[in-house]
């Protein structure tokens, strides 16, 4: 790799041992994947639960992050502010999360912002089209590549941390034009896209990821006026059922003004049609618990926007969750501050809901409260993770926010008919 003068100084150790370790790691990694040089990144978003000794090594002598950096959520029940309400003793949470205070100390020192959310774009980390970034988390990676048009590789936690510390990333993979075109075309031409529900969009995303696997996808036939709060439920599951890094939406996203541009003037490797039948079958997979009592309702995968908190609070006004039902809502604490100012959080909490800064998909990774056998959610990603991690022992039912709230208050799932 060709290094700039500053990068040479970093590698020579002139900017301290942490920077030296990070840049040397990135040089080794970059050379293994054919990178010719480093590029400066516009922002980073890092994994929270980093091993403390490794974090100390990589940040030794560093007093300022190399780029604007935000932090991913706590995993599952490990938000120290919400664990008890979610059914995990604080002592146990802190024990398993033992270094969280030490990590925070380092994050503060080097100016990583303590956002604890999977939606960096909702808390001020918003790059432009063409910017190079390194964001942790498969869904936010797909989001930023596809919807924003910033450039992102599927960086793992360590490469990602080294990029955040140095502000430099190896120039390879999806940073390069030629690797960004769609290879698998999913067309919705047979569908009336005006009537698609959020659940339908989630099913389309999940189906697309399964077909595309690790190839770039392009979806055609969506309307321009399906906005962020609905689109995200399509984009996130694409990275759950597959390892898709880019999903262009033809006529909507920045690198896909038209089909030819989205596919780089080439024929797609694979072309599939998706209609109501595919949507129905995909939804069916995550309706294993539809005829049984719902014990837990989960929103916030990805973390809820302020508009969603408004909707949830509106539906919960003067209601209570059932005596056997739990309701967990994941969001950024910054968004929660706004929701408190608006009175939404109070309504949600008064109704029995818990608001947490945690990842709402990886919940079964830590012991789920024993009474939870059936989870309702509006997120295909959550439904798929819970099914996968619990190996099917916890049932799921995916649907609209309204259906989920109704299940949280009555314990019963109301179907569409």
């Amino acid at each position: 790799m060709i290094l700039s003068k500053e990068e040479e100084e970093m590698a020579a150790g002139n900017l301290g041992p942490g920077i030296e370790r990070c840049i040397k790691f990135l040089i080794k990694f970059g050379e293994a994947f054919g990178a010719d040089k480093f590029v400066k990144v516009a922002s980073a978003h890092v994994f929270n639960a980093f091993p403390i000794d490794l974090l100390k090594d990589l940040t030794e002598g560093v007093d300022q992050a190399g780029t604007f950096t935000t932090i991913h959520p706590f995993m599952s029940l490990f938000d120290p502010l919400a664990c008890e309400k979610m059914g995990m003793a604080k002592e146990r949470c802190l024990q398993q999360n033992d270094n969280y205070a030490k990590r925070e100390e380092i994050y503060r020192r080097i100016g990583f912002f303590l956002t604890y959310t999977c939606v960096p774009q909702l808390v001020g980390n918003f790059p432009r089209k063409g910017d190079y970034v390194s964001w942790f988390g498969s869904s936010s990676q797909t989001f930023v590549n596809s919807i924003v048009g910033a450039r992102q590789n599927q960086d793992g936690a360590v490469v990602n941390m080294a990029i955040a510390v140095t502000g430099r990333a190896p120039n390879w993979g999806l940073y390069l034009d030629e690797n960004r075109y769609g290879k698998v075309l999913v067309d919705l031409d047979d569908l009336d896209s005006t009537s698609l529900t959020t659940t339908d969009l989630g099913a389309i995303g999940y189906y697309t990821g399964g077909i595309a696997q690790d190839r770039n996808a392009a979806i055609s036939g969506l309307r321009r006026d399906i906005f962020y709060d609905k689109l995200k439920y399509l984009i996130h599951p694409v990275a759950t059922s597959g390892a898709v890094s880019i999903c262009h939406l033809v006529g909507i996203t920045p690198e896909a003004p038209d089909l030819k541009t989205a596919l780089g003037n080439k024929e797609p490797e694979e072309h599939v049609h998706v209609g109501m039948e595919e949507i129905r079958k995909t939804t069916e997979k995550f309706r294993t618990g539809e005829s049984e009592p719902v014990d837990l309702v989960i929103f916030g995968c990805p973390h809820c926007s302020i508009q969603e908190l408004k909707t949830i609070a509106g539906l919960l006004e003067n209601k209570k969750t059932g005596s056997n039902q739990r309701l967990w809502v994941g969001t950024a604490h910054q968004v929660n501050d706004l929701a408190q100012a608006m009175g939404y959080s109070q309504v949600i909490e008064k109704a029995g809901g818990v608001i947490a800064r945690s990842c709402m998909a990886t919940i079964p990774d830590c012991p789920m409260p024993e009474d939870v056998k059936n989870v309702a959610t509006n997120s295909f990603k959550t439904a798929a993770y819970i099914t996968g991690i619990s190996k099917g022992s916890i049932k799921v039912v995916v649907g609209e926010i309204e259906q989920c709230i109704s299940a949280a208050t009555s314990g019963k799932w109301e179907g569409e008919d």
Partner: protein, 133 residues
């Protein structure tokens, strides 16, 4: 037998090989708590990867895979070297953070040649491996 490949990460080690034929998922197929193969129903389920040379076509896995390999390494549960058809970013990152050799792009297909239990020597700098004593 001697094979030549490309050095992704350097290091000299020798040990017993464990061969898995499908793309290896460092998040789901590897149990870092025991250092063993975690694929239920696989003939090698429960066999140790820790302390051995892992032979795979390539790997995949979630972004946190390298963290799990790093934690596994602290208690001796990580492999001591990785040989693959084509190294992927997850394997490279995981190996580089714990400092074990990775060699890929061999002149012959290692998946057919190396058998589980074979003794393998890795000469990282030169990208050479020797199979058998």
């Amino acid at each position: 037998m001697k094979l030549k490949g490309r050095t992704v990460n350097t290091g000299d080690v020798e040990g017993e090989a464990i061969v898995l034929e499908n793309a290896f998922n460092f998040t789901g197929d590897f149990d870092p708590k025991t250092g063993t193969v975690g694929i239920k129903g696989h003939p090698l389920f429960g066999q140790r990867i820790g302390g051995k040379i892992l032979v795979i076509p390539t790997a995949k896995g979630a972004g946190g895979a390298a963290i799990s390999v790093y934690n596994a390494n602290k208690v001796g549960n990580a492999p001591i070297g990785v040989l693959c058809r084509k190294a992927d970013p997850i394997t490279a990152e995981s190996a580089m953070i714990i400092g074990i050799p990775v060699i890929d792009c061999f002149d012959k297909d290692i998946i057919g040649i190396i058998k589980t239990g074979d003794h393998v020597k890795i000469f990282g700098e030169k990208g050479i491996i020797i199979i058998g004593d």
